[in-house]
Assembly symmetry: C2
Homo-oligomer: 97 residues x 2
């Protein structure tokens, strides 16, 4: 296939997998409904994205740096909201005892 078309497919893929976390972060922020969201997922994912960002710096790749900076911000937001929910529930469960 033509190299340009291959590149376009790669950029579309990168755009979609980066921007996908925006509606999740927005919904979680607005509704504060984090039920069903796995904290283990967002912990592993956030560390992974931070490593991608660091990897981008090392290989001096601006697309890798930029895409992962955005994803890092979004996934950290979701993880933060989930941790807040978990801590709140632990506090409630402790108070009820």
């Amino acid at each position: 296939m033509h190299q340009n078309l291959t590149d376009i497919i790669g950029y579309c893929a990168a755009f979609l997998t980066t921007i996908a976390f925006a509606p999740q972060a927005y919904q979680s922020w607005k509704t504060r409904n984090l039920d069903g969201i796995s904290l283990t997922m967002y912990s592993l994912f956030t560390v992974g994205v931070a490593l991608w960002f660091f990897y981008g710096l090392l290989i001096e790749s601006m697309p890798v740096i930029l895409a992962n900076a955005i994803t890092l911000l979004l996934s950290t937001t979701i993880m933060y909201l989930k941790i807040k929910q978990v801590l709140k529930r632990k506090h409630i469960s402790f108070t009820l005892k």
Copy 2:
């Protein structure tokens, strides 16, 4: 930094962002609690990962193909469970009318 170390960081990043979806898929499958999960996120993400997979085939990169095949399976599972939940609620809401 040493090239080998840079590569190791890249592989760790790829491993974490791929495997991260496993605990989410497992939790969603086991509890069937999809509240708080954004369907928009998983729709955009699944299409994005499918494009990454296709991109991997085009550039003949086995790491890109393998990592995205796994993520595609996991994110499709989560999306499928979320769609089922949305359709079930629509049906309930329709029945109650």
